[in-house]
Every structure is written in structure tokens, then in C-alpha cells.
Symmetry: C2
Subunit: 347 residues, 2 copies
Amino acid sequence: MAIETIKWINGAARIIDQTKLPNKFEHIYCRDVNRMWHAIKRLEVRGAPAIGVAAAFGVLLGIQKFKGNDKHKFLKLFHETCDYLATSRPTAVNLFNMLNEMRVVVASNPQAEVRLLQKLLHQRAMEIFKADQEVCRRMGAHGAILIKNGMQCLTVCNAGALATVDYGTALGVFYSAKKNSKKFKVYSCETRPLLQGARLTCWELMREKIDTTLICDNMAASLMAKGHVDIIFTGADRIASNGDTANKIGTYMLAVLAKYHGIPFYVVAPRSTFDLKIKSGKQIPIEERKADEVTHVAGKATAPKGIKVYNPAFDVTPAKLITGIVTEYGIIRPPYVKSIKSKIACP
Amino acid sequence: MAIETIKWINGAARIIDQTKLPNKFEHIYCRDVNRMWHAIKRLEVRGAPAIGVAAAFGVLLGIQKFKGNDKHKFLKLFHETCDYLATSRPTAVNLFNMLNEMRVVVASNPQAEVRLLQKLLHQRAMEIFKADQEVCRRMGAHGAILIKNGMQCLTVCNAGALATVDYGTALGVFYSAKKNSKKFKVYSCETRPLLQGARLTCWELMREKIDTTLICDNMAASLMAKGHVDIIFTGADRIASNGDTANKIGTYMLAVLAKYHGIPFYVVAPRSTFDLKIKSGKQIPIEERKADEVTHVAGKATAPKGIKVYNPAFDVTPAKLITGIVTEYGIIRPPYVKSIKSKIACP
């Protein structure tokens, strides 16, 4: 792959500016936590696993300039940094889970001095970074088994290398299947309003020479009716204990359509995307974003001025519509309350 | 309303350039049949009933400069004009039905000289034009009965004044309900790729002070799951004898989602949109349009260069998903083979 969506380089977090793809490939160097907060908010870095890593790196940016040994002041700064990063986006739980991983480092080392804590937090962030690629490759290997020669696959948004450190969740399944010499096609839903499917998924899949066709989101049903979709893979932003899954807006639509047409619907997500503290999808906060994402494209108005807009960034797919969840521990199947407990809570 | 989507003025067909709305309100004067063909093809004039009228006016443009009394030459020109206009777009049957209405004028007056035929064709085109508004108002009155106070309605594409001579099919229902002082909300699906919902429907409904909210097409399912959609109204481009209905891409998606969520789904269309020569939707030709409608917005690339695109302009909703069809003769309900026969074939 070697896309390197996010990387720690000499005290800065380097990210690809995903708002500019596919027209421009540009890096942003986040050198303080404020810049990282905005990078997450503006979707310069996006995708649940990548946001998790960005949050861990954001913590490093927040604490790296701290000088001296005043532990009380350091802990204040550390927790304020975590709290601040937690306000960047509400839905993807990886953000909160990875901030918690960082807090655990501090909580588990009550005797450590400031210098040591800084070192341990840096080590943990790098572990989080490295774990992501390995976890993605394991998910890819488990998911690739589901792809048979000649299959036509559908995906939405971007759950690829650009959504993770460097391999992808749903798209990792395609990369793994391709590596195993499977022959298959992919349909990519463009994913309004921000077109992550058109801009990012198509860019990634073309780069890997995977046979890809772009459609508008409202064409998926027609494609299914014609028998052109054999299987669906999506990523996830948060999975509740009962398997209810929040993902990019339009995912629930695909799940209902898949059910109607008898097409298997798989979610691909690592353990870090599960939120075992919540019982169902009803407890997942759904981010609503600004109207101009819908009313403007590339700075040009595409709707009359002053029109009211409803712009939720995610929706929740109930567990009953999900055929299986591909994780690094294998494919989890219903009943999810039980399988998530045994495979994810106590893997 | 007084939008005057299409109007015959001093030997020219004046249309609103709908590709420029809502940013610019500009007229195009079609002074020959070639210009009208391109206006239909490019969607400067669109919407099944408006296309029907545009076709009738196109015939007038084709024959109005014919001089002399050579009837053989005149008939050759007349039929070539009809055949040419018939190639502009394949799906909306109003185009073919209105060309046939014009051919019937010629066939029914075998003794008429050229000058008389020109006069009769002009009269027939004006009748077709005038009939559209009255038919729309009758549909609106029938459909408005379905709207109860407090209802939240959903529509797709533009089935409004801009899709007809000057009132609308699906939106005509809203105009009629508003006139009857009903209180209701409308959600308008933006309708990718050409955004007729965002650009045209929102513009029309705001103009009439109807409470309207714009959503992306992939948000409709989420809206339904939250209980924010009580009823759906769409237009139609062609309805087969069994009730199968071709309409803007994404309509079938809404019908499946409506079924899943138990929401009534109504099609609003005049008799001129029925194609009684075909038995089912399988026989409706579906126009596929160019890739750049999907890969570019406002001239700017939103997908990587060279990506494959599937861009059908319409889909077919099977009759079994349609709660009722609102026509100028009242609301037709299943079983459609029987009700269409009695109400439409022999009204």
C-alpha cells in the first residue's frame, strides 16, 4: 500500500489532506494539538481507526512541549488535552477508546515522573499506530474468505487505507482477496455529501488495480434489483454490545436494501470500534454537520440560498440486518450479544 | 405559480434553462427543431409532461418554415421531424405519446392541404399545452386528500411546475394541499447526479412558502427509521399496463425503504405517462447517461480521472411497492392491471 495516511515524524503528526484528494495529494504537518483537533473536525484525517491514531498522536502533540517536573501541572495538561480532543467528533468510538488507552498509561503508572510518563505515552501511541496495520491485515484475511471468484461487491464511504494507518477495514478485505488472486468487481457508492466513496475509495482501488465502478448512492437499489451485487462490505464508526452499528450515512439504507434483495451484508471493524459500555445503537450519538456540506459542492451553490438542510453524518444499522462482523479475531455472527461478549469483550 | 416552464411565443418555444437554476433564471428561445432536440437532451427542459409539450412544440418548429403546397414533401418533413425528436430521450413516454398525438392529426385528416395541416397541428400542440395545466390541477386535488395536517412528506427529483407546463404532478399535490390550508412538511431528496431535487424542487417549494428540508438521497432511510416520513409522492416517466413505474433513479430505492418502514408510497402522473402497449416495467428502456454527470460537479472533478461509472437516469419500481397512482381521474389502487384498464385505457 504505502499510502501512509498518518505517521509520526520528528515531533509532528504528518497526515494526508483527504479533503483535497483525488485532485491533489498533499501532506499536513500537525505540530500542536489544536491543529490536530481541526484536522479531525474538518475531515482532513477521517475514518474511525485513523481518528483513533490521530487522537493518540494528538495527545503527544499536547504534552510534548511540557518542561519541568511538576506532575500536577503535567496531569492537568494531559487530561485537558484528552478532553479537548474528545470534542472533535462524537460518533467514532475509536477516538474515545484510544484516548482511554492513553489515560490508562497514566493511571497504571502512579509513581512515574513526568519525563517517564512522556516516554511511556509516546511508546503507547506508537504501539497503537503499529497495531492498526496488523489488525487490518488480520481482518482482511478473515474477510477475503467471503469473496468468491466472479463476485460483484459493493461498498460505501471509504473504509480503506485512508481510513486507517495503512490498509483498511472493508477495503482491506478487497486488498487481501486481490493478493489471493481472486477475481471480483467492486461498486463504490459515491457517499454524499462529502463524496468519500468517489474521491477516496475509487482513488485507492484504482491505485491497487481493482476493477471498480462508481455509482451515486441512489443507484445501489437498482444495481441490486439487476443482480449486480453479490455481497456488501462496509466499515463502522461504533458497534454497540448488541451488534447495532453506526457507520457513514447511507449504510443503513444499504442494509435494508440488502435484506430486501437477499444479499449478505458484512461490517468490517476492529475491536477498537466496539463500544461495550452501550447496549444498543440508540445510545450512539450521531454527528450532525453543517448545511453547506449539502448545499455547496467545490464552493459552488447547488441549492437555493436559505434552504433548510438535515445533514447527519452517520446512521445506525440494527444488528438484525447484519450478516456478520469481520474482526481481527474472525467473523462474528448472530446472536451478537453472545458472540460479541465471547469474541470481543473477552477475546 | 406563473413559472411558465415552457411557452409558445411568436413562432418560438420559450423554455426556462433548468440547468442554470437555482443560481440563474434564464430563458432559452428554441427557434428550430434542432435547438429543441438539444434542449431535451441536455435537460434544459425536463420532466415527463414538460417533455411531452416540448415535443409537440418541436414538431411545430420543424414544420413552420415549410412553404408551398407539396403535401408529399410536407409529410416527409413532418414524419422526419417526429422521428428526430423521438431520439432525444428514451424513457419518458410522454415524448412518444405527444408525438403520436401530432401524427394522429395528420392521419385523421387525409384530405387536408398543407396549410390546413399546419394550422391543425398548431391547434393540437396548443391543446396539449393547455391540457397539461388542467390535468395537473386535477391530480393535485385528488392527491391533496391524502395529506393530513402535521404530515411529513418526502419527494424525489422534480415533479413540479418545472416538470410540467405550470403546476406539477407530485409537487402539484403539495400546492393543492397548501391552497387547502393544510399544514405539512416536505423533505426533498437532492437527487444525484444532477440534483434536480436540490436545485429545482427546493427552489419551487421555497417560492411557494412550503416548509421544505433538503436531504441527500442516502439520508432518506435514516429519516424513515426516525419516523420523520409519513407519506411519499413521486412523479413518473412511464407507467406500464401492470403499474410498474419508471421514474428518476433512486425512486425504486425509496419504494423499497417505504415498504420496509410501512410508509405509503404514491406515484402522481397523468394519463399521458401511461404506456398501455407494454405489459410490465421490463419493457421500459432506461436511459444511461454520460460518466461526467457523476464524476464532475459544476465543472470540477469529484472522482479520479478514468474511473468507470454506471449512470442510469431512471429505475423501475414494481407495482407491488406502489400504494396508489394519483391521476387526473382519481387515485388508482391495486390490482393495477384491472384498475389501469378501467380508469386509464377506457376512462
